[in-house]
Symmetry: D2
Subunit: 347 residues, 4 copies
């Protein structure tokens, strides 16, 4: 059993970490913090988590003696406390903000318009790509919600040099915007609407570029779109295939579709949370709702050489809290599915 602290536990990510960790067989949640909700029982904020006995605290970095610390703090805030946590405790740290996701801090500074504090060695916490590094790391930059769905939908193609360009059109549920009300999350602005935002400027773009361009010089474009859904991100990855991939005739396309499906299946065959659907099958948000799975499918090619790959995740689970726990499991040597053995909630 390990003791766990969650710093900044009053948001949706904090609530989701709690929902999952409170049933994790190897974990005891010993501290949850929220400066603005100090001394309140967690159910005053997280009404679905009744009778846990947990109360929000407010602690200094040096006061934590947990084995694992999750920082569910906003970007900018994380880098103010993590250096202290790193130095003053022995905890393994999993940060859910954008602060420790980048190989090159200048990329961070360009997209986040913030000066970064001094560097600490961290690993980008996408187990499907970086499992071995995660095992050895003390600080994980847990991936962004959009990036998880995007990168995993494109990684096998980039690795196999099959794509010139990927245009990601990602539809996200509103929980991605967080627990604080705003014009963006006002019900009458969301219901019966489809709202693209931060087109060409969203901060998850450089994360996707960083991970996919490790393997090839594929061009990346990214458009995030709010849809009237609570949870989930469905990513349509419009891939422009390399010129040397044959797609002119119907037979070539059908052959190609089958081959690509097989490449995905092979690439992810040992992954506990990746499900590759058959060519033609479309992933569904409700199949992964509340679960740590990612479903990837479609694999249709049109006459212009555009391949469509689609992925579905729960933005709060595989896109945040679940993946963070998966990283913890890897770092601690637990069964990677421990505490995450939930099926999706459909309907």
């Amino acid at each position: 059993m390990v003791n766990v602290a969650i710093i900044g536990a009053s948001g949706y990510t904090g609530g989701e970490l709690l929902r999952l960790l409170l049933n994790h067989p190897e974990v005891e949640v010993s501290t949850v913090t929220s400066r603005s909700n100090e001394s309140k029982p967690i159910e005053t904020i997280h009404h679905h988590l009744q009778d846990t006995g947990l109360v929000f605290e407010n602690k200094e970095p040096g006061e934590f003696d947990e084995d694992i610390i999750f920082t569910a703090t906003p970007h900018g805030a994380s880098m103010k406390i993590i250096p202290d946590l790193y130095e003053k405790t022995d905890a393994k740290i999993i940060d859910l903000s954008g602060d420790y996701r980048f190989d090159d801090y200048s990329v961070y500074e360009k997209w986040y318009h913030l000066k970064h504090t001094e560097p600490i060695p961290s690993v980008y916490g996408l187990p499907e790509i970086n499992r071995e590094e995660i095992k050895k790391s003390r600080l994980i930059g847990n991936p962004g919600c959009f990036t998880t769905g995007a990168i995993l939908s494109g990684y096998p193609l980039s690795k196999h040099q099959l794509a010139d360009r990927m245009i990601f059109d990602s539809k996200t549920g509103v929980s991605g915007a967080g627990i604080s009300p705003s014009e963006t999350t006002h019900y009458p602005n969301i219901a019966d609407n489809v709202n693209p935002y931060k087109v060409t400027t969203h901060r998850h773009t450089p994360e996707i570029q960083q991970e996919l361009q490790r393997f090839s010089d594929v061009k990346i474009s990214f458009t995030p779109i709010l849809v009237p859904v609570e949870r989930g991100i469905l990513t349509t990855n419009h891939v422009l295939l390399s010129d040397d991939v044959g797609y002119e005739t119907k037979e070539e396309r059908e052959d190609l579709q089958g081959k690509i499906t097989e490449i995905y299946k092979k690439e992810y065959k040992d992954e506990p949370f990746v499900k590759i659907l058959e060519n033609g099958e479309i992933p569904r948000l409700s199949s992964v709702r509340g679960s740590n799975y990612i479903h990837i499918g479609c694999f249709e090619v049109d006459e212009t050489g555009q391949l469509v790959v689609i992925s579905a995740i729960d933005n709060l689970v595989k896109g945040a809290a679940g993946q963070a726990i998966q990283n913890m499991n890897i770092m601690c040597g637990f069964d990677e599915k421990a505490g995450l053995n939930l099926y999706g909630l459909h309907p």
Copy 2:
């Protein structure tokens, strides 16, 4: 470990039994049947339940050798197979239709417009009222979704002779209408609409009457209403208090509200799945979504002597599959929360 069969497993209730039982520590699901989907892997219907290895079968009553059989068949169909199951197997049977819920079969025949087959001893499977009988029974009539939320919201008042009349106005999610498409479940008819239906004629009315009138001669009215929600039933129980209950002055009402809250807390104090909220707090569907909990709250009294009690359940869990598993746990002597230790999914 017990072996479990689910008969009629291709609907939402079947899917929900599977979602929960596949993670139940004391259970092995060995047979799932669906005549119309024979030989199909369950994920062809239940896309969220990938890679279980389970395949729909079609079996005769005599062919089951499981310890527990759930019949998730429609009313009318259950009473055609259960007598055979009862006779030809040793299984404990939990029926999720309306066929074995009534003390008096003539009530069934009046409301269901069907002739019942021969009687078999059964117990109404609402643990909060009938736990001791459930322990000893071999056949459970698992309660209807509306009735669970309604009865539990009114039971302490009826038991304490505090109510003359209860008017239930129950808002249900669309999953209650089942997996088959119809005009009723057509998205453009549900979205941005609120659809009362079967006003004064819904078949859950006599169930509510049966259970609540065991304790007093409270009058019962029931109005079901479809709302654009996937899961969950929020029941507003408009209670007309008995004349001898003082509610004229503000002080009397506040005093009364506190007393009633205490009566509920005391009545349900040992119940593992009932949460009584403080006077004034309103239950939320998202707090119980996907879980077996019922939240009960509000307890406000107005100047006319109307008390409002509100309950929230997940119609597919506490209102169907979860309660069925709770009944199984009781019948088998398992921890009553086994396989049901899930928090609600919010947001």
Copy 3:
């Protein structure tokens, strides 16, 4: 042609007045005000109203020279400006707040927890009850959204002394909460939820009492409930019929249902915006969406003497802006349907 000003035009009611008045054949909208949006074109707030040329202004009461002034200001704010408007202009004034709806100001002060300013003669602007008084008035207190749907669903029964008690359970769309974001209107709190609020304390209660108790001493209870709908209020009026109304046998009930339907049809037969459906038919929000109609139907009686009457309105139209325009049409001698000849928007 009359000139019209809208004071406080930046909210949903203001937007709806504009949507309708900009196509009204007898009206020129000459002034729209919003202190916080002064100098902005209206489309910066009301994105659906492009290219009207209108710009928000900020004016003192004495500066208006319009024939008609709509005050779409919050309660409390209206009573601060209307006395001045009343004195310094010749305009007919239609106030959409609660400030001028009450016969007895002490009722207002009790429910709104505000001291009222000096009285001005005003008429409660529900044309179906007060058309003749509206014609002669210079100041209209335009009814609340819930109250319109509730009163019109119960008025014929109160008038005919048929009801002892009415329990209103009213489901409202989220636009009723206004244009400002809050925890209440945060998408993840509304979607897939059903949220009762202000149970026994909502300020529309005394309005409903005032109008229905003009005709009989019927008892009134009112419960408002937020549902995941953008527009519309569906009111379930649970009526307890007077003891001398026969409802014991099925024949008596069917007879009674027919008679009650006829009473409603007769009472509203000349009303341009009231549609009485046949006994058994259920009103639909989507049938009145965007229109000034109210549909009333159901009229089912159960064995306990509970009659269910259901009404559907668009809260922003018949529940606010449309009714205000209907009042203007009456006050100005226009065709009562002028500018309001729109059908509902379904789907």
Copy 4:
């Protein structure tokens, strides 16, 4: 005044034609047909259209003596009756199916898997491109819903030879799937889901190609996606700009964005229903809901030379019935906005 018939008026498009035509100042709707609903008043299907006096009829092609006939029949059905209507009546005909949209019938036959009947001269009814031809035509192939939003979002770029490729990712409301319930439209399958379908095979693809490739050899890909919205299509047009367009530096991109916005404004400057938003502004479905407008905006370019153009329409109005009426207005010499002067319905 012209007399109008609607053939196949029991679906959503028929209902929408009725909603708009019943308030059209130059039109009398004299016949509405529906074989399966013969003799029923239209409000039995279209509950929002009460008391019109219209009753569904069943007529042979030779029996129509109207000036204008709208055929709201499915593809395949239209081509069976239109030749007769064309020959036996003098009516101008506006067909809302896909049967008369193609220059080259072999394209139709390839995508619709149907043999076409003999050709009749028809014009593709997109006024913004073909207004002059529409004026002179007797038979209009009214554009598909997706195609209207897609073509108008790309037409200026194709005309100005600015684009190599357009990848359309179009999110549609569920009313686009029609009035008949199916698994696709089952509420629990749509709510909280995002469902791509017919990826690379949707029949609107060749329409988009036909119109945009009139001006350049731009490559076209199209992905339709069902979202939990009732009405509306929001199209994200991911444009790959021609190589000779400079987009490398930030300044070049900002300059380019401004230029492209101006090209759109100029191209559509006299169009009564096209609104070009400023660079950076995002179109909203709720701004055009229920109206015949199309809003086009965004115009952001990223570092890879991807330009994002976004359009919003109401699929049943500008995407079907409204555009058909716009075509009628043009054919009859009416004011093009007659009967279509409605603002969008927000919220």
